[in-house]
Point group: C2
Chain length 198, copies 2
């Protein structure tokens, strides 16, 4: 199993100092912390799934893992609750300048997002083009609209520009993605009430 | 940091064969798999949080963790979506025959459940008294009603019998806890519509 992107960087302490030194994961962790501290939403990054094969049990109920391996995640990395809604998303960085290679997302993660939408949850991806220093939120409906109508192995930047929402970094919260979700919820509500009146 | 309950059992392969050999965690994992396979709900156990301190990077993008430590979980172990509702719970076993010691749940896990309820999510605990071979679901409202009105360091079995829901094991799904959630949702709906008409 491949190790998660970011782990090598983390382990070797060669931090990327572009983008004010923050990776997308760090930005999202800070943003989610801000949301929690302000009682706005409770959204967490799931721990990296690991298969433990060797543990040494020490005195006083502590233990050291001596051998373990990274496992493929079966779901997306982030989930939680916002205004009663179930929130679920995957966040990815790419160095590519013109498109987001779909190989970055596991097929079962896409499958998971599809199930979430069908259950009435809010599912999306956040993609950062690190070289361009641009970050986008692409809502699940638009993501699957692309996947269902294309055989391409990557989503072009132009699709993010047309169908996605660009997230601009602020001091705090770093990446206010729930603002976009508010907008999407508002649009959905208006469409529903329009359907009722038609 | 203490290691998670179950890890020692798992590592030393001394499986508990009472209760048809299944731990509460195994029962819940099977139940959640059943829910997913039948497109009923998408609820997962979160991976155990681990602090990795030593990794060896092998050829072909694989890696072996050579030193890591168990971390305290900041949230509950299980969450997901059911009929559009955000679901969040903690599951614990106790050998105690008369009460469930609250020391089994971290204070910040209780805090997390409280936030989930306030955000409109469905939060609860599932507790198995292994010696008695009895498993209960205690809904968040009843859990906090107890905690707010008692200084006791454990919840007596009698409280689970009076205020909780006993879960009986079946072949498949093993522990159909969403049946209880259906009932709770129904009661909440009726109370709301009663309020409207009062």
């Amino acid at each position: 199993m491949n190790y998660p992107s970011g782990i090598k960087k983390q382990m070797t302490h060669t931090v990327n100092y572009s983008h004010r030194g923050m990776t997308l994961e760090e930005d999202l962790n800070q943003t989610n912390l801000y949301y929690r501290e302000h009682d706005i939403a409770y959204i967490y990054k799931k721990p990296t799934p690991i298969k433990i094969t060797k543990v040494v049990f020490n005195a006083q109920k502590s233990a050291t893992i001596k051998e373990a391996f990274f496992m493929e995640p079966s779901t997306t990395d982030y989930n939680g609750i916002y205004k009663g809604y179930y929130i679920d998303f995957e966040a990815k960085e790419t160095k590519n300048k013109t498109s987001f290679p779909l190989a970055n997302i596991h097929p079962h993660q896409l499958q998971h997002l599809k199930h979430i939408l069908a259950q009435g949850g809010i599912g999306f991806i956040i993609v950062r083009f690190t070289t361009l220093q641009k970050t986008f939120l692409l809502n699940g409906e638009q993501l699957f609209s692309f996947l269902n109508n294309s055989t391409s192995k990557s989503i072009p930047l132009s699709y993010f520009l047309e169908q996605g929402w660009q997230l601009t970094e602020k001091f705090s919260p770093r990446l206010d993605y729930l603002k976009i979700i508010d907008h999407i919820l508002e649009v959905n509500k208006n469409e529903k009430s329009k359907e009722k009146h038609d």
